[in-house]
Point group: C2
Chain length 464, copies 2
């Protein structure tokens, strides 16, 4: 054990209680887990506080010693933000999984940072309410990690990013200062909204310990539809039509661009909802308050779009089973993509007006470098967010082509996954020197010793 | 002219162009305008840049000289944030009123800080879209001021605070650093969302110069209803019922508590929609996408509530004229209240669960001090935001009773107006020492010489 770790363990002493500090051989391999398979180092120590005061004690001790800390929630992040770097100890929120009972009148719930997204969803559901964010990793991703990365997912176009769900939070600064703002008021302009600082800052400015989250009325109806379309432009036009005709009912609008669906259908365990071969597929969902009517309205708009030639084919779910089955098809993309060894993937945001041109240009540029490259694109079209995958012999070239194309199109190099350590080399393509310098000013003001998730998002010392 | 002002004028020279600097007798009285009638001092100089570069030049010069600056938009703020303090020069955004054409596909618009709220609303409307924020001062309140105060208004329960409308912004720091993030992407986690810093910070951390704002589909139907109810509890229950039955259609829910409506009716120029005498009145509004159906659904839910005894009486608008007339009744409260000399008013946020008890206790405590006090309460019940007015011989006692009651109820001392200079003495009732110390850390990091709106929200030096 290093002298640094020994000093830390002695400083924390019994403060974190039984199981509060793991060191040496007690440190499980799971703290190296990474969904991208890029294992970090095994940490020498793991701090597992039970509450904000424990987090404060742990951070104060680390800060006094200049000990770098990596914060871990569910370790489902896709940018390496929670991956352990040499010399770091882990601060895990895994013992802080408490959930208060939902406040039904205010439509809020207070959750500890280590509670999973799914537990929040289920608590809301049990109270006749709904939580607005859903992502594939719901079973392990946590409230704290979701806030730190400002999680997105499939219903952003209706309910907003995770930021829109946060009515208040509690966070601990590097020096152990505890900031608590959990009133959950929908309107409160009593001084700076400090919680905003920690949302999407990837654990670099403070550690979120609790949050007051907004809940929504549970929809009385949920219907989805799977559509085959002649082009991306047609899919964008259909999005506009559904928004215009159905207003806030539209709750998800997912795209799947050829040849991905064709590859999925070739090995799909379930029946394919529509035949392969179309240039673009869309999964659209509505959530409404009139079960006897919403599905019919949705189907009418879609059938008219088919008659008008805007949509080639459509299937509308007629039961909860069919509704679930269409979502399973959407999620089946991951089965196919995760099985492709060496696939690289990015999570990009592009203005709808430039998306078609971006896709064409990126495709041509990647194939110019590697004519055998395979490109698979799906994502949250309603938010301009694409998950773009490439199987290529020259991944470095593909990354460069994609990210430079994104920057030229006025997009973002991370729509919802964050920057972490894996994407920070691309940050300056989309953020100005003045912006990155201002991020450094904030980091220095709140974490002057740079102990919290150091080297995530950007390097504090630009000369490193 | 003071030596400070002379140095500033000479430093800025011709940089801001004709009309860019007003000094001495060229400074109009309007820079002292204050909707509360609390005139500040007449500034010795007014800086009127035309663009972000001009703002940067002005601030860099002020920062070099340590010259304090007060930022002015439409001067409609209700907390004294823009009121000129001795020694300050005014930085007015009044020559930056540009509006780009709305981007209909992305449903966004880029506006300069000096553009009025109404101009944004009209531009959106002209493009078949809608802007989500509306407040009474729409004709003079500006984009920059609305962002600086995180404006609220009547449709927060549907569209969120102003923060939820901002997809990106441009701001200038005290040292002249220009931060530009105007892509308007609905999803972008590429580094810190720096724009959040400036929303609701009341001009203390930077000067907003432009914003990319979110627009919404224009509703095809708008219907409102005016209800008489037996109690505040009944009004809160009706809110829950409307949310459950109508989902996202519900777009406003305003309350008027006795005896305010009775006083209004006694001198109202228009016909009263319902007789006076009820304990509570509510104006509810829906915005939908099915004109032939939405009003009918809304009326059905309300009629059922009358049958069930939850609502005493209701009138539902049957035409755009009646719709407008009911809103006029809501806004008629201001006519009556503004005519009362010596009235004090606060803008408070209270959890719905505690609102009834708060009102009872505050009422009793104020009358214990001044048995002749009159209390008039209306506001945005859907957001837990009340505008609470008192006509009393002892306003100081009333302020203390109200704000301490708010704090005890877990509320906020400013729901939507901000803290400015007028409410900063109450900030520590609702924010912890740790929170206020963190606000100071941020202020010091971004404005180390404390030149931007000094003394608003909090004093940088707590010993002052």
């Amino acid at each position: 054990m290093s002298p640094e770790t020994q000093r830390l363990l002695s400083a924390l002493g019994n403060r974190l209680g039984a199981g509060g500090v793991l060191a040496g051989s007690d440190v499980d391999q799971r703290y190296r887990d990474d969904p991208d398979g890029k294992l970090g180092v095994l940490p020498e120590a793991v701090l597992r506080p039970r509450d904000a005061e424990g987090v404060a004690a742990a951070l104060a001790a680390c800060n006094a010693l200049g000990q770098p800390v990596v914060v871990q929630g569910g370790r489902t992040g896709l940018a390496g933000g929670a991956r352990v770097q040499p010399g770091e100890v882990v601060l895990s929120l895994e013992r802080m999984t408490g959930l208060a009972a939902p406040d039904c009148q205010a439509a809020t719930i207070v959750a500890e940072a280590g509670a999973t997204l799914q537990s929040v969803q289920e608590a809301a559901d049990g109270a006749g309410l709904m939580f607005g964010v859903d992502i594939g990793a719901r079973g392990s991703a946590t409230v704290g990690g979701n806030i730190a990365t400002n999680a997105g997912g499939i219903r952003v176009l209706r309910y907003g990013m995770y930021r829109a769900q946060v009515l208040g939070l509690e966070a601990v600064l590097a020096d152990g200062t505890v900031l608590t703002s959990l009133k959950g008021l929908p309107k409160d302009n009593s001084g700076y909204d400090l919680g905003q600082l920690f949302i999407g800052a990837e654990g670099t400015l403070g550690v979120v310990t609790r949050a007051a989250l907004r809940l929504h009325p549970k929809p009385a109806s949920e219907v989805n539809a799977f559509c085959a379309l002649p082009s991306l432009d047609a899919a964008i036009a259909l999005l506009g039509l559904l928004r215009q005709k159905l207003g806030p009912l539209l709750s998800a609008y997912e795209v799947n661009i050829a040849p991905l669906y064709d590859v999925m259908v070739a090995s799909m365990a379930m029946p394919a909802p529509l035949p392969a071969g179309s240039p673009v597929y869309v999964l659209a969902e509505i959530q409404g308050s009139e079960p006897e009517r919403d599905g019919e309205r949705f189907a009418e708009v879609l059938m008219q779009a088919v008659e008008d030639g805007a949509v080639d084919d459509v299937v509308v779910s007629q039961s909860p089973r069919e509704f679930r089955a269409l979502w399973d098809v959407r999620e089946d993309a991951n089965r196919v993509l995760f099985s492709m060894k060496g696939l690289i993937g990015v999570d990009i945001s592009i203005p709808l007006a430039r998306m078609g041109a971006f896709l064409q240009e990126a495709d041509a540029a990647i194939r110019a470098v590697d004519p055998g490259a395979d490109i698979y694109v799906f994502g949250h079209l309603g938010d301009g967010n694409l998950h773009y995958q490439v199987l290529t012999a020259d991944p470095a070239a593909a990354y460069g082509i994609i990210y430079r194309g994104v920057a030229a199109a006025g997009g973002g190099v991370s729509a919802e996954h964050g920057i972490g350590v894996d994407k920070k080399q691309w940050l300056n393509l989309v953020r100005s020197d003045a912006e990155i310098a201002t991020m450094r000013r904030l980091k220095t003001a709140l974490d002057p010793k740079n102990i919290l998730n150091p080297g995530r998002v950007f390097d504090l010392d630009p000369t490193v």
